[in-house]
Amino acid sequence: MRFMVWVRSPKPLAALHIDSLERAGVLLDAGDLVPHACGVSGYWLIDVRNREEAVERIKRIPLPACVVEIRQVAVV
């Protein structure tokens, strides 16, 4: 199942190390949103077996203090 990971970070997302998602074959897409007053936002779209795996995979990324939201993508 797919999860959208929203990240609101003080640092550009390009500086975050998400190689582990790529190497694990679960990263489908990544992108930046237009910056706003709270910092830089972006998203990763990952394909994993369940929510627990999504959380564990994101926990392994060395993130700065930032807001992360993990939401399952609805299957139409």
């Binding site: 790529e22 190497r23 694990a24 074959g25 679960v26 489908l28 897409d29 779209l45 394909d47 077996r49 369940n50 627990e52 795996e53 959380v55 564990e56 995979r57 392994r60």
Partner: protein, 417 residues
């Protein structure tokens, strides 16, 4: 959800993420894939026992690795003691012993690649390679593999035990092959991944047309392999092929689970993200400037469909030409059957029927349900309805998939009496 259940789900997730890396690192350390897998399983059992009480450790992957490594060291020490005793009584026992000082580091790329090549070693039969790959690289449990292939747990367990023994008996080294051997061994790896994907994409048995979990796993392992072996065009090509085929998953079945043929699919249901990924993977393969291999041609074929937003946009002449190339690389009556379909689409059903009739006597096609199915389709388009009906009925008798059988019988019925 209870706290214990929640922890168990976390353990499952961590296992799925870390097991291949743990097994790979231990296999380098022990030089014994079977032992490595057993020790990793022991670590999993320990996690299931301890984590519900003690909580999930901060770095669960490292915890599993350390626990498995300790168990492996204990096991090796026991073996060494045994060997010493055997030597003392004058027996000639030769067994490779690992360097106990060797550590398990984070650079597991080569280990993982070695594990992939070992699990897919040609010394093993196809079923054994598939089971071992899903178990050791996919982190699937025995019962999950059994459910995916509709066989009993004990059958899968036996396959895995026999496979590990066969690897040990054959003295298969835990390493990435080099030189000319690399291409042969890589072909074996790609074959296993594509077999897993295809079993999920077009289930050969049972009531379900697809088993998506197998497709997802094959695709994930293909992407992992592409990161580990970025200079191999056929790896990128296989990934491209699987991405593009997987993109059609939601369009391939109707509301009742019945199959929907490619040209009748609602392309709005295709996953255009996966198609984009597939086309990018194909570009990576092309950028390597290597001679086209069978997966490249198949991916290029899939891309012809993937690029067409409407069925009438499909470049059938290019597809027919690509099948001709594929027939030169991997000659097969099934490739010719597909070429016949492309010729029919590009130049009319009579052109396709001529080729089908040329290859109909091929031994490999006897009992293959798609031969009468395709022939029936051409005949129907040529207005030869009664001949078409007989072909669809013949195809329905030959297929082992219940939903496909229903579709073929419906086509036969639509030909009238």
């Amino acid at each position: 959800m209870g706290a214990t259940t929640s922890v168990h789900r976390t353990v499952d997730a961590v296992w799925r993420m870390e097991s291949a890396k743990v097994i790979a690192a231990l296999a380098r350390y022990t030089r014994d894939v079977g032992l490595a897998e057993e020790m990793a399983q022991d670590a999993l059992v320990a996690a299931l026992e301890q984590w519900p009480d003690e909580g999930v450790p901060k770095n669960p992957g490292a915890w599993l690795m350390t626990t498995a490594k300790r168990r492996a060291i204990d096991q090796i020490r026991r073996r060494e003691n045994f060997n010493r005793k055997v030597e003392e009584i004058g027996r000639d026992v030769q067994e490779a012993t690992p360097d106990a000082s060797e550590g398990v580091d984070d650079e597991i790329g080569d280990d993982l690649l070695s594990l992939i090549f070992t699990a897919c070693h040609p010394v093993l039969g196809t079923e054994a390679r598939v089971a071992l790959t899903l178990k050791m690289l996919g982190g699937l449990k025995t019962e999950e593999i059994a459910r995916a292939f509709l066989v009993s747990d004990s059958t899968v367990a036996q396959r895995i035990v026999r496979a590990k023994k066969a690897l040990a008996d054959a003295g298969v080294p835990f390493e990435v092959p080099e030189g000319p051997e690399l291409q042969t061994r890589l072909a074996s790896v790609l074959e296993v991944l594509y077999l897993i994907f295809n079993e999920g994409y077009s289930a050969t048995q049972g009531d379900d047309w697809m088993r998506p979990e197998l497709c997802a796993e094959a695709l994930r392992l293909g992407r992992v392999l592409a990161e580990l072996a970025p200079k191999e065009a056929e790896v990128h090509s296989l990934v491209a092929l699987m991405e593009i085929q997987a993109s059609r998953s939601k369009a391939r079945t109707g509301p009742g689970g019945e199959p929907v043929l490619l040209l009748e699919q609602d392309r709005g249901k295709w996953d255009w993200l996966l198609i984009g990924r597939g086309l990018k993977a194909l570009e990576r393969a092309e950028a390597l400037n290597q001679p086209p291999g069978p997966y490249y041609v198949q991916a290029a074929l899939a891309a012809c469909h993937g690029r067409a937003r409407k069925p009438e946009d499909t470049d059938w002449q290019r597809i027919a030409a690509l099948y001709e190339v594929l027939g030169q690389i991997s000659p097969s009556p099934i490739v010719e059957l597909n070429r016949a379909v492309a010729l029919a689409m590009a130049f009319g059903p009579a052109a396709g029927l001529a080729l089908v009739d040329e290859i109909a006597g091929e031994k490999a096609l006897q009992g293959y349900h798609l031969l009468p199915s395709v022939r029936g389709d051409f005949l129907l388009k040529l207005g030869r309805t009664q001949e078409a009906k007989a072909e669809f009925e013949k195809a329905a008798k030959l297929t082992r998939n219940e939903r496909e059988k229903t579709l073929l019988l419906e086509r036969a019925a639509s030909c009238g009496t």
